[in-house]
């Protein structure tokens, strides 16, 4: 693993730690700055490999697109995690979804990219926003305490980025094994790769039953959600300590 990636990981951790909501704007800006530095370090690292990329004559779209959308995705993910207002966080998430869809397009997964936008940005995020609107306490002008002050940022950032660093290191070890895989270099590939037809054929030939089960699961979860969120359930009375309910 390259030292630039270690640096990028460490900088990312610091920036995320600083940006996590703590009720102080100055730190957020400093964190954002360091985050930019982290992205830059990562970019440097990846530029370092670009030379090698040229050597293997990767036939896909230019790498610069990946870097742009990856930076957008990471920045918007940081925005989701760090923004003290859930609504803005949800909007950052939409941005993340769009960046991810763009990345999918780079990987020739056109259908998935479209579905991602439709389902995530269109359906799931709308639900989130809806619930955020529904379940926010009144007022809302200053964000609620539990949104403005995050819990245990240091420990969480440390363990998460320790895990990230370890994973990155492992992947660099795994490179050697992958090199001799069946499609070591993504070529132009069979006609229609990534298209809807190919995916449909694959789903309905190999994964027919899981697909149906997924549909059932979706239905069941919908019914369950309706049952859970029903308004007319009896309120649960919480007993004080030592109180005995009179029947």
């Amino acid at each position: 693993m390259d030292y630039t990636l270690i640096l990028a990981t460490a900088l990312g951790a610091i920036s995320l730690y600083l940006m996590l909501p703590r009720g102080r704007a100055a730190l957020v800006k400093l964190g954002a700055l360091i985050g930019v530095l982290a992205l830059g370090a990562g970019l440097l690292g990846w530029f370092h490999w670009t030379a090698q990329e040229q050597a293997v004559h990767y036939p896909g779209p230019p790498a610069i697109f990946f870097y742009i959308f990856a930076a957008i995705a990471l920045a918007s993910a940081a925005g989701v995690v760090c923004h003290p207002r859930p609504l803005y966080a949800a909007l950052y998430f939409v941005l993340l979804t769009l960046a991810a869809a763009a990345l999918f397009l780079l990987l020739r997964a056109e259908f998935i990219a479209v579905v991602l936008i439709i389902i995530y940005a269109g359906a799931i995020l709308v639900t989130y926003v809806f619930v955020i609107m529904l379940a926010s306490p009144g007022g809302e002008i200053p964000a609620a305490d539990y949104d403005r002050i995050s819990a245990d940022p240091l420990a969480a950032v440390l363990v998460s980025f320790l895990l990230l660093g370890t994973i990155l290191q492992m992947m660099s070890y795994g490179q050697a094994a992958l090199a001799h895989g069946p499609g070591a270099v993504p070529a132009a590939g069979p006609a229609g790769f990534g298209g809807m037809g190919m995916l449909g054929a694959n789903l309905y030939s190999h994964y027919a039953l899981p697909l149906e089960l997924a549909g059932v699961l979706l239905t069941v979860s919908l019914v369950g959600a309706v049952m859970i969120a029903r308004k007319n359930e009896p309120p649960v009375r919480m007993l004080d300590s030592g109180e005995i309910p009179a029947e």
Binding site: D152, V159, L163, T166, M170, Y173
Partner: protein, 706 residues
Amino acid sequence: MYPSWTPHEAAIIFSALIPAFPLGAAIVLALLGAKWFKKSSHVPAIIGVSLSFFIALKLLLMFQFGQLAAPNATYIQSDLWTWIGAGGFKASVGIFLDPLSCLFAAFVTGISLLIFIYSSGYMEGDYGYFRFFAYMSLFVFFMTTLVLANNFLLVYLGWEGVGLASYLLIGYYYPRPAARDAATKAFITNRVGDTCFAIAVLMIYLTFHSLKFSHVFYGSLQSPAFRAAHRTVLFWIPLLLMFGAFAKSAQFPLHVWLPDAMEGPTPVSALIHAATMVTAGVYLIARCLPLFLHDLPVLHLVGLIGCFTAFMAATIAMCQYDMKRIWAYSTISQLGYMFLGLGVATGTGAVFHVFTHAFFKALLFLATGSVMHAMGGELDIRKMSGLRKKMPITAICILMGCLALSGFPGWSGFFSKDDILSAAMNSTWRFGPWLAVVGLLTALITAYYTFRVFFRVFTGELILPATAGQHESSPFFPPGDLPGGEHAVNHGRPAAGDAAKDRHAPAKKPRSLDGAPAMWLPLIVLAIGATFAGYLGVFGSHAPGGWIGGFLGRVPLNGTIRYVPTPPAGLPQPVGGHVNPILIMIIGAALAVLGVLIAAYFHRINRQAAAKVAVVLRPLVHFLENKWYIDELYHYTLVRPLRFSGYILSLMDRFIVDGLVFVIGFIPQLAGFTIKPTESGRLRYYGIGMVAGVAVVLLGVLYLLR
């Protein structure tokens, strides 16, 4: 009913039913007694034991008429099922039938039957009526198991079982502290012997690789090479068996529990602590005589201790005042005689004495129970006199018992005692004749103390204790009544207060104090047995020793239990003298008559003389009244040091062991205190921990990949 069974198979199956019936009765009583049977609890117990008795009698007759075994095999044995199977070790529940076990089974169940019938009258209205009969049935189950078992482990089960039954029945009146203490004392004393017995059983298994009698006695033991190779073990096994037998049969120095065991109900004393259980030790040694004959010094030790115990207990019995205690010491003394007999290798004589002793000692105890019943629990022979006018049947029966016990010519004890003494006189052992002399002296003492009781209590002017006519005060109180309250009555009988009123009222004079027929009928049967059982050892067979000698002579223990034992070639012959048994008989008879006459002079004709002699012999009387100070000896050599060491150990326990435990307990407490904050119940921290764990594991894998 059993068309395809051979007599052999039928005998095995039926003899397996002998313990089964009392066990069934015990279970039925334990489950249903309190709710269902209540005052008729004696019915299942008596049915069970009488069925057992008839089967045992039938077996005895089958053996007598040779219907069971082939001519060259005089025992039969069979495994019923496997009891314990662990690896190479196997112990089974099985039956061993030979004349010895048949005789024991028959007289145990027979005496039990009579005592059960007696108990149904004696214990009537008692609070724990069903419990009493359940325990008694349990005892009969274990005792018959003991005598019918075909291996040492099953004998050990029966051995422990009769100990348990004895413990339960001594402590039957458990509200009484004395009864509880006596039960504990009996149990702990027996523990010593039981441990020795258990070690002996283990050693037998390690030596012979089997626990079956047929294998141990008739297998490799017969080969001289085997005996030479296991000389040490073959010394220790009989020695340990001897200690086991001595604890159960109350021989010096483990005899101290038996007099205290009289705290139990009188039928218990009669059945367990006189007639049957205490003879289990005699049975064990008689059964294992082949083992003992290979090491005569151990056998001689048995005789020596038996002789000493007989003498010691007889002297103690001279100066006791509690009737039951006198009979208890008398039992110890008579058991000493039996071991004396075993010590000079006359298994027949010893078993014969067990047989006759069972009759007359059960009779004496039951008659004493009748006296106790009539006198309201009073047993001090100084407080009563001339009872024969009030209790004629009891008086005649107890006279028969006394004659038998004292060895009066013509009564049963005379013949069996004579058998033992003449065998001792004829022993090849140098000290055998000396033991016989001590035995004869003991016979004199026995005759004296026996008739001391009889003349004191049943003859002379009529004196009744203050409690006469009342029911013995019960330690139990019916549920719901407070002790000492107005209703603390004696369950179905007139309360103490009523009886006191009755005595002031001139009417309602009791006609006879003999008690219910259920009480005096068994007395008569036992009196007949006590009188005539001895003739079984004289007539009935051409062999020396009469029917008993001929019957037991067939016990196939390599001829060792024979009237004149012949051990295997190459071993010293235990019997070889030439003193005429008739001479011993005459001397014994003369001494018994002399003892009776002395007793008659001091306790019938001139009671003041007895008091004068007692004053002259003050130190000796004190010594005997205090039972040779053996309890005190135990107190100062065992109880005190143990209590002191217990105190020291408790200090150690409190400060060292407890301290250590506290420190050890403090470590997890400290650890828990340290990591307690992590168990906050907040999923967030668990999540952080989980992620950290995954990261650490991956780092480890990474390190390994390098």
